[in-house]
């Protein structure tokens, strides 16, 4: 297997069963920088797929197949060792930490304190949000919170992104902006991304393959 072929996120005949009922079966490869959109009505098991990939599948479900990330089989790995970043519908910035502390929390531990603070400030500056660092996350607007939560996720240096309807809580004016921001960041960093949504517009903008389950 050559290096270029193994890069990306591979769902190798992944089938999930809820007791005896098979929810779906997916065989797909998401290359670096690509977005795979999974669509389906609520209750179809879209989020269950993300739970499997990130390692949080509830014990009531069973599965067959394998999940490979950059050529490594992560199907059985504990969640904290998978390097798969999750973005939820809510931004989930920790209300007991400042914006900067939320970002420091995600940054891997290398380098001294100053160096790490530098990195966080640079990440904020790169998206023109350096003035938000000292703020209480609860005082940010919905759009700002979403963007900060993505930056937090990216600072943790994930090797893949899983987006669980991350735009559905935003109002339609903001939605487009935040969506463009997320996709361009994923593209820039060449991250394989799975997007779960029920919004056609999200799927269109993502530009990659669309699977309906």
């Amino acid at each position: 297997m050559t290096e270029s072929r193994s890069k990306g996120l591979v769902l190798n005949n992944v089938a999930i069963r809820d007791h005896e009922r098979e929810l779906f079966c997916i065989d797909a490869t998401v290359r670096p920088g690509e977005v795979l959109t999974v669509m389906g009505p609520s209750g179809s098991g879209k989020s269950t797929l993300l739970n499997l990939v990130s390692g949080f599948l509830p014990p009531a479900f069973s599965y067959t197949g394998r999940v490979l990330l950059d050529g490594v089989d992560i199907t059985q790995a504990p969640p904290e060792e998978r390097h798969v970043g999750l973005m939820f519908q809510d931004p989930l910035l920790f209300p007991h930490m400042s914006v900067e502390d939320n970002l420091l929390f995600a940054l891997p531990k290398d380098g001294g304190k100053d160096e790490r603070c530098q990195k966080v400030r640079a990440a904020l500056a790169a998206v023109n949000m350096e003035e938000l660092g000292a703020r209480d996350p609860m005082t940010l607007s919905g759009g700002q919170q979403s963007r900060i939560s993505l930056i937090r996720l990216l600072l943790s240096e994930p090797k893949a992104l899983l987006l669980d309807e991350p735009f559905s809580a935003l109002d339609s004016g903001l939605k487009g902006k935040v969506r463009d921001f997320v996709f361009s960041q994923a593209q820039q960093r060449q991250l394989p991304t799975i997007l779960v949504t029920h919004d056609e517009a999200d799927a269109q903008r993502a530009g990659g393959n669309i699977i309906t389950i």
């Binding site: 969640p79 390097h83 920790f94 891997p108």
Partner: protein
């Protein structure tokens, strides 16, 4: 045409509920403080004290062992609170959402309902030099064929008491933690932390615990207040020479020499100070640990390899649950034990003789305990439901300030203000009566009943009431015929909890009843000095079984009252 479909509501005075509730919770405390502070400063006209003086506040400190007693209270109180909280938080961190968590959780509510005194006796029977653990290990492991001469129970540093208190406070904080967890998005926070590489425990500690602790703060302070001033468990398990300050206080309060009343009142003021000081130390500790946590949280350490730690914490919790269950078993064994020689694991024969011989003696204290429990819980329920309905009708938000009033009786050392109340009762000739004892119990029953019934009451599906209104049923009728029946399950559960709290009360019964209102709990604690294990086993079993019967009845009654109704089936 349809003019009589809406009858005028007959205006039940629901607004009385919050007013009387605040009065019931605050007036006795104020009276109690007055009754303690005045004599402490020398003012007690009927004993000839008519001038104010600091003399007694100093005099009490010269009593032998005073400073040691004070120190014991502080250390036991703070150590109990700290270790219980660490254990509960550690267990939540290690196991939240896992099968282990659910397995342990099943034991917690029943453990919570066992009265303090019964837990203390059970533990004493387990760990004493002639206790069950020693018997199980003797003589094959220890070589003992007679009990060693060790001071395990009533040890001078209070380790046995500390363990007993932890056995009681861990289930309490566990349940508090559960209810707080339901108010924040624990699962999502944990997922987020773990998906960026954090270990389960450390992830929980820095993303969940700070928010959780905010919600648990009042109950934690209640644990400090309780364990710095505990009396019943301290009599059974605690050090004796000198005893913890509250036990020492109780002795002074019962001293026949009237001069000692001033000393006792002054001691109660010191007790208040000790509890306050413990809370102050805790508050400082909170600041320091909070600061350390905030620093550690942004270092980026993932601490992903926490398997050994998780195993360790879960193991400790398992040991604690096992001790609790064994304590209960050993109480039962002693209550039916015939001849039981030391290293033998089990009695030579079992007999119900002592049960039969004491049945007559058990009836009165049990009936008293039940009567007080029914009355205090009944009043607490009427007040709580009235208060909640009033809140709903007038769209009042329950403020954090109001919550503090509700917790007030749990945040103040019982012995300090109960002594004041009893002094006043003696003054008016109301001591030793049932009614004041019921109201004293109400102080401690009301917070639990209200908190346990409030959440389901507020989550009630209001559409049922709208349907009732649309059908022309007035508010009061809807309250009694729709809301209350549908809330039957939580109401029965709150009743069982209230009764369990009441049955477990030792100090309010003893002090307000002036020793003349005897319940199963006061009788059981009174047996502690005697050391007749079979008799203690019998009294403690009755004491522990009463609340248990209540909870079982509360669980099955809805199914029994509403057969064929799926709503009440699960």
């Amino acid at each position: 045409m349809g003019t009589n479909t809406i009858r005028k509501s007959w205006g039940l005075p629901f607004w009385l509920a919050p007013v009387s509730m605040i009065a019931v919770l605050t007036l006795p405390l104020l009276a109690g403080f007055a009754g303690v502070l005045l004599p402490a400063f020398g003012y007690f006209p009927s004993l000839g004290g008519i001038s104010f003086t600091f003399e007694y506040l100093f005099a009490v400190t010269e009593k032998p062992g005073f400073w040691h007693s004070l120190h014991l209270s502080l250390w036991i109180g703070l150590a109990t609170t700290f270790l219980s909280l660490v254990l509960v938080a550690g267990f939540f961190a290690a196991n939240w959402g896992s099968p282990t968590f659910l397995r342990i959780q099943r034991f917690i509510s029943p453990l919570m309902s066992v009265p303090h005194a019964a837990v203390a006796f059970g533990l004493a029977f387990l760990i004493a030099p002639s206790g069950w653990i020693m018997r199980l290990c003797s003589p094959w492991a220890t070589g003992f064929d007679r009990p060693p001469d060790w001071l395990i129970v009533n040890d001078p540093m209070g380790y046995a008491l500390l363990l007993g208190l932890i056995l009681k406070e861990v289930p309490f904080l566990f349940l508090v933690g559960l209810s707080a967890s339901s108010q924040i998005n624990v699962d999502e926070r944990l997922k987020l932390a773990r998906s960026i590489g954090y270990g389960r425990m450390w992830g929980w500690m820095i993303t969940v615990f700070p928010s959780l602790y905010k919600l648990m703060r009042l109950p934690v302070i209640a644990v400090i207040a309780y364990s710095t001033s505990v009396v019943d468990m301290a009599i059974i398990l605690g050090p004796n020479f000198p005893a913890m300050l509250p036990v020492q206080l109780l002795r002074w309060m019962n001293d026949p020499e009237l001069e000692m009343r001033f000393i006792a009142a002054a001691g109660a003021v010191w007790q208040l100070g000790a509890t306050l000081f413990a809370v102050l130390i805790w508050w400082l500790g909170e600041k320091i640990i909070g600061c350390a946590f905030r620093r550690a949280a942004i270092h980026g350490n993932r601490l992903a390899k926490d398997g050994w730690m998780r195993g360790g914490v879960s193991g400790l919790m398992l040991i604690l649950v096992t001790i609790s269950v064994l304590s209960f078993v050993i109480l039962f064994l002693w209550s039916i034990a015939g001849f039981w020689r030391f290293p033998n694991t089990l009695p030579d024969q079992f007999s119900l003789m002592r049960w039969m011989a004491n049945a007559g003696m058990l009836i009165d204290p049990t009936a008293n305990a039940l009567l007080i429990a029914v009355l205090s819980t009944g009043i607490a329920l009427v007040m709580s439901l009235g208060c909640l309905e009033n809140e709903y009708r007038h769209n009042i938000e329950f403020t954090p300030g109001a919550l503090r009033v509700l917790y007030l009786p749990l945040l103040v050392p019982q012995i300090a203000f109960l002594f004041g109340i009893s002094t006043l009762l003696v003054r008016f000739g109301w001591d030793g009566q049932l009614a004041p004892v019921v109201f004293a119990h109400l102080l401690f029953v009301l917070p639990y009943v209200f908190l346990s019934v409030a959440a389901p009451f507020r989550q009630f599906d209001l559409r049922y009431l709208r349907v009732a209104a649309a059908l022309g049923v007035n508010q009061n009728k809807a309250f009694f015929t729709v809301r209350l029946p549908l809330l039957l399950k939580p109401i029965l559960l709150a009743t069982a909890l209230g009764m369990a709290v009441s049955i477990a009360q030792y100090l309010p019964t003893l002090m307000i009843g002036a020793g003349r209102v005897e319940t199963i709990t006061t009788e059981a604690v009174a047996l502690a000095a005697g050391g007749d294990r079979r008799l203690i086993g019998i009294y403690a079993m009755v004491q522990a079984l009463l609340p248990a019967i209540g909870f079982v009845a509360a669980a099955f009654a809805p199914k029994f009252l509403y057969p064929n109704k799926r709503y009440f089936a699960s």
